[in-house]
Symmetry: C2
Subunit: 149 residues, 2 copies
């Protein structure tokens, strides 16, 4: 057979199941890499969310959790020397979370050590990479609730 028509279009359910399995496996790889550096997945996620300085409140938004949680998470990041709080210029109520050099270093290590993810990407052809990336980019605004008006 040539290239046509031997494939069937997956149902929504099949696609969701496949996405869920891949998402879960990706997350486990991430959590395992973070754990090797003594970080919980929430802490590592927060670290990745402060690559540029971010106010506490905005960080809560990025992490999709209540603002009260961020206090504790940043406390622990701060006690590990991976981030610190700075006063904001204009508004004295606001505190801005800034990643430290060490934090940036650890973040890079964690990402580099997601070995299963790297292996998985390694099995893809260039064509598959292009297709996957473009689907992700296309789908993300809808999936995250930022549908363009």
């Amino acid at each position: 057979m040539g290239s046509t028509a031997t494939t069937t279009v997956p149902t929504n359910g099949e696609l969701m199941e496949a996405l869920a399995a891949v998402g879960a496996a990706y997350f486990q790889d991430f959590a395992a890499a973070a754990s090797r550096h003594g970080l919980s997945s929430s802490q590592a996620k927060a670290l990745g969310a402060v690559q540029e300085p971010v106010p506490m409140r905005a960080l809560a938004g990025r992490l999709g959790c209540d603002a009260s949680n961020v206090t504790g998470i940043v406390d622990r990041l701060e006690s590990l020397g991976l981030a610190h709080r700075e006063a904001a210029a204009g508004d004295r109520r606001v505190k801005i979370v800034v990643i430290t050099e060490q934090g940036r270093e650890i973040l890079g290590l964690i990402r580099g050590e997601m070995i299963r993810t790297h292996q998985a990407i390694g099995t893809m052809t260039d064509e598959q990479r292009v297709a996957l990336h473009s689907v992700c980019v296309q789908v993300l605004p809808v999936l995250s609730g930022r549908t363009a008006p």
Copy 2:
């Protein structure tokens, strides 16, 4: 030809970032749908993992957590009437978790109410669905550490 060379192949980093964003958004959609039915994401994940009867120990494996946690999670599922424990035939040490009719119903509702995910899938062409599904299937064994020997 028409289809060549105008696209650039994404780097591993770009692909990982895109995957992470999609995975996180998918998970939030899942957690939000579960929450609407009074379930935590762990509880909902467990519910999805017992569509067929599963021993406690095996459930821990599926959820990727320690066996001691499963006791509490199944306790709560059981108190909500969504699953129950049964004795195993051959081995009196083993308890098997079985989903109830109500549990199956709630699980179906949760999956149906992942509206952002359904919308996101709705934006895909048939070609994209086929490509995405096949990449997921291809990548999953590597990503989840079950590389064929």
